[in-house]
C-alpha cells in the first residue's frame, strides 16, 4: 500500500518522532511494521481499522468523562496503530520503572514509619504534613511484607533528545492496565499476522504476577486467600476497566457496601453468608476508604477498614495513605532520596521540577516562566496546568501574584516538547503525528517489581495539543514491545484455573449482585409488561375504529390501577389521553412510565455489568437509547414500543439461554417471576372486578396484553369468554403467561435457591397456590358468573400481596446481612 499513508506524515525538527528518524526514514524497530503497512493492500488495512471500531462497540469498552454528554457510555478511543518499542530500550525503561517503584515504596515505609527523610531534611515537611494526601490515621501502619506500593503506574514522555522523563507517579489505585490489556486483545486480533510476525511480548504473565503477588502477600490463617477488586462503582470514569480486570483476574468486583469489618477482619457479604477477604485491590482513593477514620462523609468506603489494616488482617493494594506520593512537588527531592535509601542514581529522571515552596525555586520559576509549565503541587487541587509562555499581560501578572501568595501550592516543570507518533486519521485517511506519552505499570513480587512488557500509550486529540489526558478526549494506543527472540505464548488465564477455583467462583457472589440481578429481573419484566399494556392502548388510539375507541378508557383504567399512568380526569379529552399515554411510554420522570422502568433497568444492569454478555449489553444499550427523545405522536410511540418489546424479548431470551445458571442468576429469574405475578394478578383482578359489560369487552385486550391471544385462538377458535380466558391466564400451569405458572416457577426456584444457599425456604406463596388449586372453576359456568369473578379477584389480590411480601422476604434473607452469620 499505499505510500500515500505515510508520505505526507509531518516531521517536526524540534521534537522526537517515534516512527521516523531525523533523516525521514523509519527507525530500525519500526522498519518491519512500516514494511508491513506498505505491503498490505488497502482492503486488509481498512478491515483491521473497522475491526478495532467494531470491537470497542461490541465489547462495550467505555470510559466516563465527568460532565460529558455521552455520560457513562462514552466509547473508549483506541488508535488502530500500535506504538513500536525496541527490546533493548524497553529493558532500560523496565529497570528504571522497577527502581522507581522500589524507591517510592521505601519512601512510603519511611513516611508512615520513622520519618527519617523528614528529619534529615531530604523532604520538606510541607510536602508531607502540609499535604492532604498524607493520612495521619495511617501513621504507624505496616503492611504485610512492607509492601505499601503493590501496584504502581508511571507516566513517561520522551524529550527531543530521545531520553525518557517521568512526568507523574500514580500510587493509590492506578488505572490503565486493564485498558492496555483490552487494547492489546483488540489490536492483536485486528492485526493478528503483524502481531505474530513482529514477535510482540505478551501481557498475560504480568497479570499472573498481579494475582500471585496478592495471593502471596495476603495474610491468612491457613485458608486459601480471597482477593477482591474494590471499585467506587459504575459512575467512576474507569469502571469498565474495574469490571474487565476483575473478570480477567478472577476476583470478585466489589463496592464498599459489599464488604464489612467484623473483629478487625474484612468480610464479603455473599448470598451464602460472610466470607473472609484477605486482599483488596482498590480503585478507591484513600479519602473514601473508611468513613470511620478518613473522610466521614464517604458512602463508598468500609467503616473499620483501617482497623483491619492496623491489625494486619488484610492486605491493601495499595496501602491506605499512598496517595501522598502523587504530588509532583516531590520530584526534585527524589534524586537525593534515591541516594539515601537505595544508594543509587535515578535511572530515569523526573522532568525538571521546582517546588515553589522553596524560595530559590520560587525565584527561578518567576524568572523563567516562559520555559515552564505551572501545575498544582497536590493532586487534590484539580487545577489545569498553565503554560508560562501562553500567559500574557494582566493574566500573567495575576498568575504571578497567585503563585507568590501561596507558593507551597505550585510546582513549575520544564516544558518538555513531547515526542510525536503516528496515529490514524479517519478523516484524512492517512497517518498524522500526535504528541504521545506512555503509562507503564509495575507490580510488587517477592523478587522485586515486575514491569508490564507493554504500556498504555496515550496520544493528544489534536495536532499541537500538549496536554495528554483521557479526561480531555485523548486517544489511547497499544504499545508493542518487540522481543529479541521468539515470544513465549503463555496460555490464557482460564486454562490454569483448577477445580477448586471453579467451585469457589460460584460461591463468592456478592449479595449486592444478587440484589441487582433481582431488580434487573423485576424492571426488565416491568418494561415488557408495561409496554404490552400501553401498546394495546396506542394501537387502539391510532386505529380510529369505534369498537377500539370504546375499550380505550378500560385499558387506561387498567394502566392506572397498575400505576403505569397517573390518574386522569373523568372527562379527559382524547388529546389529553394521548398525551398521558405518550408520557407513560417515553417520559422517564413520569412515575410508573416505561421509560422510567428502562432507566431503572439500566441502573441495575450497570451494577452487575461484569456478569452480562456483550450481546446482552447491546440489547440494554439499544433499550436505553429508545427514549432519548420524547415521542411526538402516537405512531412514533407505537413504533418505539414495538422496538422495545423486541429488545425485551431478547433480554428474556438472554436470561434463559445466555447466562450462567449460578446462584445470582436465580435471583434474576425470581425477580422476573415475582414481577410478572404481581402484574398479572393486578391486571386480571382489575378486569374481573369491573361490571359485566366492561368485563366482557375487556377480554380481548386482556388476552392480548397477557400475551396469550394466539394460544386462545388456537385452542378455542371463538370470541373470548370468561371461563376459557381465566383458565388460560390464571390456572393453566403450562402457559408461561399465567398466574399459576409464575407461582409454580417461583416455588421451584425458591426451593433450589434456599437449598443451595443454606437458607430456609420462604413459605409466603404456599396458601395462594393451595387456594388456586381448590378454586371452584365450574362456578364460572353460571349464567351470571359475577360472583365467581369476584371470588377470583379476591384471590388475585391476595396473590399480589403475597408477591410483595415475598420480594421483601427475599431482600431480608439473602441481601441484607446481619451479624452472626460468619461461617
Amino acid at each position: 500500500m499505499p505510500d500515500s499513508l505515510i508520505n505526507h506524515y509531518l516531521l517536526f525538527p524540534e521534537r522526537y518522532d517515534e516512527m521516523l528518524g531525523a533523516d525521514g526514514h523509519p527507525r530500525g524497530h519500526w522498519q518491519s511494521f512500516v514494511d508491513l503497512i506498505r505491503g498490505a493492500d488497502e482492503e486488509t488495512l481498512a478491515r483491521g481499522i473497522q475491526f478495532v471500531q467494531d470491537a470497542i462497540e461490541t465489547d462495550g469498552v467505555s470510559y466516563n468523562i465527568y460532565g460529558d454528554t455521552l455520560g457513562a457510555k462514552r466509547p473508549w478511543e483506541l488508535d488502530p496503530l500500535p506504538l513500536m518499542m525496541p527490546p533493548e530500550e524497553w529493558a532500560g525503561l523496565t529497570q528504571a520503572v522497577a527502581q522507581r517503584a522500589t524507591l517510592l515504596n521505601a519512601v512510603l515505609k519511611d513516611l508512615y514509619g520513622p520519618q527519617e527523610l523528614l528529619a534529615e531534611g531530604l523532604l520538606p515537611p510541607a510536602l508531607v504534613y502540609g499535604q492532604h494526601g498524607f493520612k495521619w490515621p495511617c501513621v504507624g501502619t505496616r503492611p504485610p511484607g512492607d509492601v505499601f506500593l503493590h501496584f504502581y503506574a508511571v507516566d513517561v514522555t520522551r524529550a527531543p533528545d530521545g531520553r525518557w522523563w517521568v512526568i507523574a507517579d500514580r500510587t493509590q489505585g492506578p488505572s490503565g492496565a486493564g485498558y492496555a490489556l483490552q487494547n492489546r486483545i483488540i489490536l492483536s486480533r485486528a492485526f493478528s499476522e503483524a502481531f505474530r510476525d513482529l514477535q510482540v511480548q505478551t501481557l498475560a504473565s504480568f497479570f499472573r504476577a498481579v494475582q500471585d503477588s496478592l495471593h502471596r502477600l495476603a495474610p491468612t490463617d491457613g485458608e486459601p486467600p480471597l482477593a477482591v477488586l474494590l471499585t467506587p462503582g459504575p459512575y467512576n470514569e474507569t469502571y469498565f476497566e474495574h469490571a474487565f480486570l476483575a473478570r480477567y483476574l478472577g476476583f470478585p468486583l466489589v463496592e464498599g457496601q459489599d464488604l464489612t469489618v467484623r473483629d478487625d477482619t474484612v468480610y464479603l457479604k455473599t448470598l451464602r453468608g460472610l466470607r473472609r477477604v484477605h486482599a483488596i485491590l482498590r480503585r478507591l482513593d484513600d479519602d473514601f476508604c473508611d468513613p470511620l477514620e478518613l473522610r466521614a462523609d464517604s458512602a463508598l468506603g468500609i467503616p473499620g477498614l483501617l482497623g483491619a489494616v492496623r491489625a494486619g488482617r488484610v492486605f491493601m493494594g495499595n496501602a491506605l495513605g499512598s496517595g501522598v506520593l502523587e504530588s509532583g512537588a516531590l520530584f526534585g527531592f527524589l534524586p537525593a532520596i534515591a541516594q539515601r535509601l537505595l544508594g543509587e542514581e535515578l535511572q530515569i529522571p523526573s522532568v525538571a521540577t521546582w517546588w515553589c515552596g522553596e524560595p530559590p525555586a520560587l525565584d527561578y520559576t518567576l524568572e523563567h516562566l516562559d520555559e515552564l509549565v505551572i501545575k498544582a503541587a497536590f493532586p487534590n487541587m484539580r487545577r489545569d496546568p498553565v503554560f508560562g509562555h501562553l500567559l500574557k499581560g494582566r493574566a500573567r501578572k495575576e498568575f504571578v501574584e497567585r503563585i507568590k501568595s501561596q507558593p507551597n501550592a505550585y510546582v513549575a516543570q520544564e516544558w518538555v516538547r513531547l515526542s510525536q507518533a503516528p496515529v490514524w486519521s479517519p478523516d484524512q485517511r492517512r497517518l498524522v503525528p500526535r504528541s504521545v506519552g506512555l503509562r507503564l505499570f509495575a507490580v510488587a513480587t517477592p523478587e522485586g517489581y515486575a514491569v508490564m512488557p507493554g504500556a498504555l500509550g496515550r496520544a493528544a486529540p489534536d495536532q499541537g495539543t500538549e496536554v495528554i489526558s483521557m479526561q480531555r478526549g485523548g486517544l489511547s494506543k497499544d504499545v508493542w514491545v518487540r522481543s529479541e527472540g521468539p515470544v513465549q505464548r503463555i496460555s490464557l488465564l482460564k486454562s490454569r484455573l483448577g477445580v477448586i477455583d471453579l467451585v469457589c467462583t460460584g460461591t463468592e457472589i456478592p449479595s449486592r449482585v444478587g440484589e441487582n440481578l433481582f431488580w434487573m429481573g423485576r424492571y426488565a419484566e416491568r418494561c415488557e409488561t408495561g409496554a404490552r399494556l400501553l401498546r394495546a392502548a396506542l394501537s387502539r388510539l391510532s386505529s380510529r375504529d369505534d369498537d377500539d375507541d370504546n375499550v380505550v378508557p378500560d385499558i387506561l383504567a387498567a394502566c392506572q390501577r397498575l400505576e403505569i399512568l397517573p390518574a386522569l380526569e373523568a372527562d379527559a379529552s382524547r388529546e389529553a389521553m394521548e398525551q398521558a399515554v405518550l408520557a407513560a411510554v417515553g417520559d422517564p420522570d413520569q412515575p410508573g412510565s416505561v421509560a422510567g422502568a428502562v432507566r431503572a433497568l439500566s441502573f441495575a444492569a450497570d451494577q452487575v455489568r461484569e456478569r452480562l454478555s456483550s450481546d446482552n449489553w447491546h440489547a440494554l444499550n439499544r433499550l436505553s437509547r429508545l427514549f432519548a427523545k420524547p415521542s411526538p405522536s402516537v405512531g412514533h410511540a407505537l413504533n418505539g414500543v414495538d422496538r422495545l418489546m423486541l429488545d425485551c424479548i431478547s433480554l428474556a431470551g438472554f436470561a434463559m439461554d445466555d447466562m450462567t445458571r449460578d446462584e445470582g442468576w436465580r435471583f434474576l429469574i425470581l425477580g422476573r417471576r415475582a414481577e410478572r405475578l404481581t402484574w398479572l394478578a393486578g391486571l386480571i383482578g382489575g378486569v374481573l372486578e369491573s361490571p359485566r359489560k366492561a368485563r366482557e369487552a375487556s377480554l380481548e385486550w386482556l388476552l392480548e396484553t397477557a400475551n396469550s391471544i394466539v394460544t386462545y385462538r388456537a385452542r378455542y377458535r371463538r370470541v373470548p369468554e370468561v371461563l376459557p380466558v381465566v383458565h388460560l391466564i390464571v390456572f393453566d400451569e403450562s402457559n408461561p403467561h399465567s398466574v399459576a405458572f409464575q407461582l409454580s416457577a417461583l416455588e421451584r426456584y425458591l426451593t433450589s435457591t434456599a437449598r443451595e444457599l443454606g437458607h430456609g425456604r420462604p413459605e409466603t406463596l404456599a396458601p395462594i397456590r393451595a387456594s388456586l388449586r381448590n378454586f371452584d372453576l365450574p362456578s364460572f359456568e353460571a349464567e351470571d358468573c359475577t360472583p365467581a369473578c369476584e371470588n377470583l379477584a379476591a384471590l388475585l389480590r391476595d396473590a399480589r400481596q403475597a408477591a410483595h411480601a415475598l420480594s421483601d422476604e427475599i431482600q431480608r434473607r439473602f441481601f441484607i446481612h446481619t451479624a452472626g452469620s460468619v461461617r
Binding site: 520519618q115 523528614l118 515537611p125 510541607a126 495521619w136 470511620l292 467503616p303 482497623g307 452472626g820
Partner: protein
C-alpha cells in the same frame, strides 16, 4: 502552689429514634499523661457492652478506644471517669523567648538541614488542616500583635489578648462546621472557634500551633453549689517555642493554663481529637446529650454528698 486533684466525669448519651443494628465509635476521652499531669485512675464504661473493643494510640500519641457494637440498641452511653493530679508549671518568661522570626526560621525547611526531633514534631502543626486555614489576612492580623523582632511567646500573649478583647463568646453564633474565615468575619464563637482562629493566625505567620482538647474547672455562681453535669469540654492552643517546647494559651479566657486546665489530647485541630467519632447503621437523628462534671478533690464529697458517683442509667427518659 501545690498540686491539685480533680475528679472528671464525662457522660455522652445517644438516644436513637430507631434501633441501631451496627455501630462503630472511636473514643478519645482518656487523658494523656504529661510532665505536669498525672492520671491517677481512669476508666471508660460503655453501655450496652460493645461486641469488641480495642485500644491504640493515634498518630499524635493520643489514646483511642475503638468499639464495635453488633446488636440492636436504642441508646449508647459512654462514660469516661478520671482522677487527675495537676502539678504547678513554671510560667515561662515570655519576654525572654527568641524572636518570632527566628522561631519561624527554625521551623522552615532548608534543603539538607536536619531537624531535631522536637522541631520536626512541631512542623506537623505548621500547615492548613481541616479547620485551620493559612491566609494572608490571618498573617496580617497576627502581625499587628507580633510586630518585628518581638519575643515569640510575648507575641502570642499579645495576639491572645487581642482575640479575647475583640471576639465575643457566643454559643449561638457558630457550630462545629463553621469555617474559621466566618469566625474571623463575625468575631464570635466558642472556645473551639477562638482556638482555631488563633491557630490559623499563628500558622499563617509560619509558627507551629496545635489544638488541645480537655476540661476547665469552672466556678459556680457565687453562693451556688457546684452542679453535676454543668461543665463542658474545653479547647485551647499550644505554641511551640524552641528550648521550652509547647506552651499553652487559652484565648477564650486570656490566660496561660495552670492548675485548672486538664488535658485530654491534641491534634492539628478539632477534627483530630474529636471525643467521639462514629459510623452507625440506622438510628435516624441522634444528637447526643453530654454531661461533664469537673470536681476538685476537696469538693468531691460535697458534690456527690458522700454517695458513690451516680450509676449509669439507660432507662428511657422523656425527651
Amino acid at each position: 502552689m501545690s498540686s491539685q486533684r480533680y475528679h472528671v466525669l464525662h457522660d455522652t448519651i445517644y438516644r436513637y429514634d430507631q434501633p441501631v443494628g451496627e455501630s462503630r465509635q472511636l473514643i478519645r476521652l482518656s487523658p494523656r499523661t504529661l510532665p505536669w499531669q498525672k492520671v491517677l485512675a481512669h476508666r471508660l464504661e460503655i453501655q450496652p457492652e460493645p461486641t469488641r473493643s480495642a485500644d491504640f494510640l493515634d498518630g499524635f500519641g493520643n489514646p483511642v478506644r475503638a468499639i464495635h457494637l453488633e446488636a440492636d440498641h436504642e441508646a449508647l452511653l459512654i462514660r469516661a471517669e478520671s482522677w487527675i493530679e495537676l502539678a504547678p508549671r513554671a510560667l515561662p518568661e515570655l519576654a525572654r523567648t527568641p524572636s518570632w522570626e527566628s522561631v519561624r526560621d527554625t521551623l522552615a525547611y532548608r534543603a539538607g538541614r536536619r531537624y531535631p526531633p522536637e522541631v520536626l514534631e512541631a512542623t506537623a502543626f505548621r500547615f492548613e488542616s481541616t479547620h485551620v486555614r493559612v491566609k494572608r489576612e490571618f498573617a496580617h492580623y497576627a502581625h499587628q500583635a507580633f510586630g518585628t523582632g518581638r519575643p515569640v511567646l510575648d507575641g502570642v500573649r499579645a495576639l491572645m489578648g487581642r482575640i479575647f478583647e475583640e471576639f465575643t463568646f457566643d454559643p449561638e453564633a457558630t457550630d462545629v462546621s463553621t469555617p474559621v474565615t466566618d469566625v474571623f468575619a463575625t468575631k464570635r464563637g466558642v472556645c473551639q472557634d477562638f482556638s482555631h482562629f488563633m491557630i490559623s493566625c499563628l500558622r499563617s505567620l509560619g509558627l507551629a500551633a496545635r489544638y488541645t482538647s480537655g476540661y476547665l474547672l469552672t466556678r459556680p455562681p457565687p453562693g451556688k453549689p457546684r452542679l453535676v453535669g454543668a461543665d463542658a469540654t474545653h479547647a485551647w492552643v499550644s505554641v511551640f517555642c524552641p528550648g521550652l517546647g509547647w506552651v499553652d494559651f487559652d484565648p477564650t479566657n486570656d490566660l496561660l493554663p495552670g492548675l485548672e486546665h486538664i488535658t485530654l489530647g491534641w491534634g492539628r485541630d478539632f477534627a483530630d481529637v474529636s471525643p467521639l467519632r462514629g459510623v452507625i447503621l440506622g438510628g435516624g437523628s441522634h444528637e447526643p446529650a453530654i454531661a461533664v462534671t469537673v470536681v476538685p478533690e476537696s469538693e468531691f464529697d460535697q458534690v456527690y454528698e458522700g454517695e458513690a458517683v451516680p450509676e449509669l442509667d439507660l432507662a428511657p427518659q422523656e425527651r
